[in-house]
Symmetry: C2
């Protein structure tokens, strides 16, 4: 059954801008708070106040982080670029935490230097994954006075108590006041193991201070060697959950907010406790309207864990793949279901990316070479493609409205591209304007998914890099104008370090030099190992639907399924020949489907 949008009836023309009006696009989202898929309607106008838990910075980000951040990034882009919401996206960096203290102490490194180092590492990964930075971005350490005030108010409201210079949240009082503890996790109070884990490794042994086992720390007394701040309860530091509740209040100032999100592992106890704190702080039962949690991530059918040695970091994967491949990996699976990562899934992502970028590149070639001198009146095949485009637009709109169904969207987009490829392959009578409409739509959707075309992005980056090189070079030449040796060194440096770093290879040819854009790896290799063999070709996965379309040395025309109809000389194939090819295609598709489901 397909979630299909939307009537938007009862138009009213308002004379007062102040009047509160609802912005409805027909988008339905799976809301973990209400445990159902429901229509999303912002609280105020088109504005979406959305908070996403940032990382605790003490180690490299892994595939689980990648899934959460990529997912919420493409959702945000779809909401902004496709649906037209005004998303106010806020996040934090948890730079005070038990794990940070432990690790930095082990390394005898100042805890804040340590945290800032891993923050940079995280931001580097995010940039490589093309994650759009949050509009509001702040660190827990920048918000200590606000955290203390937040705790004080919870205490004043009667939902917290102080013991031995620590402050705990009082679950029983909270429940007694009519709040529900367990909005996200119905078994909340009983999940003591998770609750304890959430309290942090350094809190072992203080359980006896609590009135009730489910109570959790808002403020922790600091021991020797732990960072500490002054507070009404003595020197200490904030608990984990209170950090996010406070930052959200700093960011958005009042309840309710529209959306809150994170990986599924944050659902309990972290988000459950955030809800408790914020409801206690605002004295409300309506703090946040929608919670989003990405599904579990498994590796080869098992939970990712360090003990299983299947803990894969983003950096590890980016050694062999591009950021955009990881993005397709997640786009190809529904965001809120368990995702079992197997290596072949990444190969599928690579193939999908290649399918789209090849199409757009081929379109560009046609656009450069095909004029409109010939007959421009549409004939059947033109109408077929135009109708396929309109049909894709309607169906993709319905898929995106249905809880961001990106895998379905990519399937539909693939089918459209296959049709457009077939259209291009009969390269007499191409209507280039029609093809432009298809290409610009494909580009629009991919752009809304954050799968920016490498060409454009790399171009701008490269341009910036080159201009920086020129500016720096000019400056250095002026500064060293009296030192011949230094100038020659500068010139070598540009050839051997600066430009390879941006993917450009310089070759000195006697009196002058030439350049080639070859990519970073290639350019560096050229300096390190002058004449070694090129890297092995990437093993390419050919989609069944494209199997024949690529055999342009054998066939000249194809039907809409991509099965050949004419040989290379333009002769129509016999019924028998075509049936043979159809059989082959069918068997390829079956193999593909089998591989996909396994």
């Amino acid at each position: 059954m397909i979630t299909r949008f939307i009537t938007r009836p009862l138009i009213k023309i308002y004379s007062h801008m102040e009047e509160s009006i609802k912005f409805r696009t027909g988008l339905f989202i799976n809301n973990t708070l209400t445990h159902k898929k429901e229509e999303f309607i912002p609280i105020q106008g088109k504005t979406v106040k959305w908070y996403i838990c940032g990382p605790t910075v003490y180690d490299s980000s892994h595939l689980g982080h990648a899934r959460a951040y990529v997912t919420f990034d493409y959702m945000r882009r779809i909401m902004e670029q496709y649906f037209g919401y005004d998303v106010r996206f806020a996040t934090n960096i948890t730079d005070i935490d038990d794990k940070i203290i432990q690790r930095s102490n082990e390394l005898k490194e100042d805890f804040s230097t340590f945290a800032r180092r891993w923050e940079l590492d995280y931001l580097e990964d995010m940039a490589k994954l093309n994650i759009k930075p949050a509009t509001q971005f702040t660190r827990v350490s920048e918000n200590i006075p606000e955290i203390i005030k937040f705790i004080q108010k919870i205490k004043d409201n009667g939902f917290a108590y102080e013991v031995n210079s620590s402050v705990y949240f009082d679950i029983e009082k909270y429940k007694a006041a009519g709040h529900l503890y367990g909005k996200l996790e119905p078994n909340a109070s009983k999940s003591l193991e998770l609750l304890e884990e959430g309290e942090g490794a350094l809190s072992k042994g203080v359980e006896t201070e609590k009135k009730c086992k489910a109570d959790f720390a808002l403020w922790k007394k600091s021991k020797e060697g732990e960072p500490k701040w002054e507070s009404p309860w003595g020197m200490g530091r904030p608990g984990w959950h209170i950090e996010c509740s406070t930052v959200i209040d700093v960011d958005f100032a009042k309840a309710p907010i529209d959306m809150h999100s994170g990986g599924i592992d944050l659902k309990f106890p972290h988000h459950e406790n955030e809800i408790a704190q914020s409801e206690a702080f605002y004295n409300t039962k309506d703090w946040c309207r929608v919670f989003l949690h990405t599904g579990h991530l498994e590796i080869d059918g098992k939970k990712m864990s360090k003990s299983l040695k299947n803990f894969t970091t983003i950096k590890e994967i980016l050694k062999h793949y591009e950021g955009v491949h990881l993005r397709y990996l997640f786009l190809l699976h529904r965001w809120d279901t368990t995702f079992n990562y197997v290596t072949s899934a990444l190969e599928e992502a690579v193939a999908k990316h290649k399918q789209f970028s090849e199409f757009l590149l081929n379109y560009q070639v046609i656009q450069r070479s095909t004029g409109i001198n010939r007959l421009q009146k549409f004939i059947t095949k033109d109408f077929d493609l135009e109708n396929a485009l309109s049909d894709s637009k309607e169906k993709i709109h319905a898929a995106l409205c249905d809880n961001f169904d990106t895998p379905k969207t990519l399937d539909l987009l693939s089918a459209l591209v296959i049709k457009a490829n077939a259209y291009m392959s009969n390269n007499t009578d191409i209507k280039v304007h029609l093809l432009q409409s298809v290409a610009s739509y494909v580009e629009h959707i991919l752009d809304s998914f954050g799968c920016i075309l490498p060409l454009k992005q790399q171009d701008s980056e490269l341009t910036s890099a080159l201009l920086n090189v020129i500016c720096e070079f000019r400056t250095q030449v002026k500064a060293n104008a009296a030192d011949k040796a230094a100038l020659f060194k500068l010139c070598d440096q540009i050839r051997d370090t600066t430009l390879p770093e941006v993917g450009v290879r310089i070759e000195d040819t006697g009196k002058s030099c030439i350049w080639k854009i070859v990519g970073k790896e290639e350019a560096k290799k050229a300096v390190e190992e002058p004449k070694k063999d090129k890297a092995k070709a990437v093993k390419e996965v050919v989609l069944a639907a494209e199997f024949f379309l690529r055999q342009t040395e054998k066939y000249s025309k194809f039907d809409t399924d991509g099965v050949p109809t004419h040989d290379i000389k333009g002769k129509e194939l016999s019924e028998e020949q075509r049936n043979g090819l159809k059989k082959k295609m069918k068997s390829l598709k079956e193999k593909e489907a089998k591989k996909k489901s396994s």
Copy 2:
């Protein structure tokens, strides 16, 4: 009073894709057919079947053409990129027409070669104005058999008659069947002068063939020296209006279509007669839902005409201005009202374009140079800018919903940019992620208006050029390594000649330098006319709100209105000083308002 949209209530989840559902965005459009501003709702899903009359190709396109084509281009982009409609945009080229025949005969040139030459001229102009090509684009000459069939059916339906190998539309029969002749122009039947003009210069003398003066030609008997095609009524050629009715049928196959558009001069008799023909053909009273007509264009208060010698071609204007300036010219005025063109209006357009592109360039400089090492927690001025952004988004949405109010949108966008400039000018504590949100929104709206930033387009070329610069520079530095003076000369040359030639402006800032991609003209100008004369040469219109913000040599901080609060040394201004400056600002704004309304 502001047209404010929209509640979109009564969500329904359909299990059948087939069910007909309305796509409503809250967009209201001035519909010339119903003579009122009304909500636009596509007939089917998100699809908008839209036809726009292309040109009769016999001369250069003029400012009136520019207005119509630019207007419908930005409307189309807004509908596609901003509102998310699926626009099926179709157009034609009128390459058979009395004027074409006359002119080509005068030149003793084959009429179709002649027409194709002017078609190319027109397409060249459109490309320079960044008009997105229609998905469907066909020539009248490609549709002769369809035109004959179309006329035959009108005749079969009883609404046309043959006289002396010509066929005429029968207005009286049409009216008698209950159709309204005069849907667009209530005085239709009485406007005989315009009707006659519409019949073409070569039809003089055949009026007596008609049953009624208001009848118009569907098929014209060809005389000696006129192009001709075989038909059931003898050798002849199509009338003007029938061409569009037929092409629309070829493009969209059935009535009704969603939209039809053209300049106001096409409203009567051309569009009126198209309605009559198509209603007669389909036997319907519901052929096209919305007609759009751009307002009149006057030059210095007078109608544009060749006899007044105020007939300005697009090419003439593009000698002195860029395509994007013409686009802003029209965006700065409501599309459906009379536009009185005065030269200063173009200067205003230049200033507006400059304001936005400078903002985006300055943002890019900040983005390259500003990290996030400092405190990232939002303080009041950050929240102010974020709120200004949200507020602009709401108001711009309302303006675009209100019959494409682009002048208001640009005013609101300007106000936002002024605030962002003030924010950037206090360059301690800039939150670069927040600024990115503002810049990307400004870019999104300008992109929806077709005011593409040159950056993206020129990137690839630029990359090559820059790499050439680096190679050449390296070579020269090596060759001149012993000659200090020569090296300095080289550095100046790169700043003053090489890089301006590729559109890059280098600004030396003491010990280092920064770069801006500004386009060739601008970069060269910056070198040729050093600081003082610059203002004169460009004759820039400084907006009152920016008057002080530009005086960065005098003031260092400003309030949100752009009034200085601190002098260049960082000292706060006195109450008295600030009041003086506020007075000055007030008087400037009053002058500005006066000038605008006059």
